[in-house]
Symmetry: C2
Subunit: 177 residues, 2 copies
DNA sequence: ATAATCTATTTTACTAGTAAAATAGATGTG
DNA sequence: CACATCTATTTTACTAGTAAAATAGATTAT
């Protein structure tokens, strides 16, 4: 059986297993001349990312905190030192304006503090308050547990392989800015 | 060397290779008691998803079309039949309100058409116009090429393994809604 | 030193996305 | 058949995120 006929066979007759299998099957019928195999990886990364984002937002709702605010808190928690607003912006992949807004809200709630920099009067340093640390300590482990559960179908070896292959893709993307 | 000491060694002394390696190293120092290994997979999926989303938005800007509008067009293109607004909502993972807005704008630009359903007067069917098909035919292959390029560092075998492992994770997520 | 330029953050004005209410059509029950 | 209930979409009112302008402090060149 040729590569092509195996491919066609798979697309048309295999039971779709997840959203991306179904999408690929759709493209195979609608645009049979296109090689859409890359969506097997990129489409799933998108899909998983979107589903996990929804789940995180749902889980954070009782804390009355958004996903991006939580991301900001976690960025500070793992950095071990006060960060400049611009460092937080780089780490969270949001705009500087968004960092200002998130920091405003978190500061009003007493979860972070703004400090001036001695070296440079333009710079604002952000750091967690005791309450901010407490919130991260209380909630972050739950998200780790959720993620562990999600990966529970994989063996340790499979997890390591998956992480290694994703690192390759991530590095390829990060060098292109 | 014990599992733990290897882990600590890796976290503290290995050169970080990508954003997630650096984040994991941060957590290892700030909260050494937490097992954050799941971010090797979940963090990278998030990161890659965010970077790819930015890139797609950048590439679509000259067409004056947003990523979600493009997603709607592609959903129709690969379905081979007019879709209900609610089917589009399910496929794109956005709200129904968002489907209405995106459909409005695309219909105003003549890229899709709204049809009534004969069976059910509440239902609106969305389908591509000739212009909509032309836009997808013109631009979608560029995105496939971009994705191929991104995966060019992987062998065909590695791509298949990566896709298979991601399918496992995706199915695990999709069964939980 | 001082004017010009550069940089970090905030403010402003706007857009995309959402939840909940409104609308309109379908379905089930007595 | 009417009446209540359910469902699909749209409208409304609002929030989060952004680009670009504004602000304020630092740096460079003369």
């Amino acid at each position: 059986m040729s590569v092509l006929s195996r491919l066609v066979h798979m697309d048309l007759f295999a039971a779709p297993e997840d959203f991306v299998d179904a999408a690929r099957q759709g493209w195979a019928q609608a645009r049979p001349e296109l090689d859409v195999s890359s969506i097997e990886v990129m489409g799933r990364i998108n899909r998983i990312g979107a589903l996990v984002t929804q789940r995180v937002e749902h889980d954070l709702a009782p804390e009355d905190i958004t996903r991006t605010e939580f991301d900001l808190l976690c960025t500070l928690a793992r950095s071990g030192r006060p960060l400049r607003a611009s460092e937080v912006t780089a780490a969270t992949m949001l705009s500087g304006a968004s960092t200002t807004k998130n920091a405003d809200r978190l500061a009003r709630r007493g979860l972070i503090e703004r400090l001036p920099s001695e070296r440079d009067g333009r710079v604002v340093l952000l750091q967690l308050t005791a309450d901010g640390h407490a919130l991260v300590d209380r909630t972050f482990p739950n998200f780790l547990a959720r993620d562990q559960e999600l990966l529970s179908g994989l063996t340790p070896r499979e997890r390591a392989v998956l992480a290694g292959l994703l690192r390759k893709v991530a590095m390829n993307l990060e060098v292109r800015h």
